[in-house]
Amino acid sequence: AQSVSQHNHHVILSEAASLELGCNYSYGGTVNLFWYVQYPGQHLQLLLKYFSGDPLVKGIKGFEAEFIKSKFSFNLRKPSVQWSDTAEYFCAVILNYGGSQGNLIFGKGTKLSVKP
C-alpha cells in the first residue's frame, strides 16, 4: 500500500538552529506533495505544496521543501527556527492515477520543540 514516512517522531532544537524534517513516500507515479502544520491548540493548516515545476518550493514563515523524485522525498527545511515554530508537522501526498487524483495521505507527523 502507498504510504508516507516521516523519519523523526520528535525533534528538539534550540532557537536559530537549522531544521530539516524528512519525508518519503512510496509510489512510483505522479504525486502532489504537501506539508501541513498544527500549532499547539490550533487546527491543521497548509504550510506549503508542490505540484510541478521548480522542485524547491517556499511556504509561509520561511519554510521551504525540496522534492527529489529519485529519492521519493520531500523534506522540509528552515535555516533558523524560532520558538514559535514549535508545532507538529505532517507530510502528505496525493497520488495521481492516470489523470484522476486520490485523497490526501498523511504521514504520522513530527513534533518539533524549539527551546528559547
Binding site: H43, L44, L46, F51, F90, I94, L104, F106, K108
Partner: protein
C-alpha cells in the same frame, strides 16, 4: 471568513453508547472530509463528500459509523455503538474545487470512550 466549525470539541461516553459529531464547512466549499486521528498518528480519511454525494467512503467502518450531508452543506458523523478503540480525534475539513490538496481543517472533536 469563518473557518470550519466542529462540535462538540470534547465528548466522553461509555462504550456501547451512540455519539454524533457535527461539522459546518467554509461557505462555498463543495468538498467535505471526515478524518480520524489516533494519538501519535496522522489523519486518516473516513469519508469524502462532493456536495451531498459521498464519493469515497471506502475507509468508513459501516457497521457502526455513518455520515450524512443532506443539503450539501453541514455534515454529521455518527458512531453507534461506540467501542473503546474509537477514542480519537475526529477532524472535519473542507476544500473548494480548484484547490487540490488544500484542505481547511476544523479544530476537531476529541472522543473518549470509557
Amino acid at each position: 471568513e469563518a473557518g470550519v466549525v466542529q462540535s462538540p470539541r470534547y465528548k466522553i461516553i461509555e462504550k456501547k453508547q451512540p455519539v454524533a459529531f457535527w461539522c459546518n464547512p467554509i461557505s462555498g466549499h463543495n468538498t467535505l472530509y471526515w478524518y480520524l486521528q489516533n494519538l501519535g498518528q496522522g489523519p486518516e480519511l473516513l469519508i469524502r463528500y462532493e456536495n451531498e454525494e459521498a464519493v469515497d467512503d471506502s475507509q468508513l467502518p459501516k457497521d457502526r459509523f455513518s455520515a450524512e450531508r443532506l443539503k450539501g452543506v453541514d455534515s454529521t458523523l455518527k458512531i453507534q455503538p461506540a467501542e473503546l478503540g474509537d477514542s480519537a480525534v475526529y477532524l472535519c475539513a473542507s476544500s473548494s474545487g480548484g484547490m487540490i490538496g488544500e484542505l481547511f481543517f476544523g479544530e476537531g472533536s476529541r472522543l473518549t470512550v470509557l
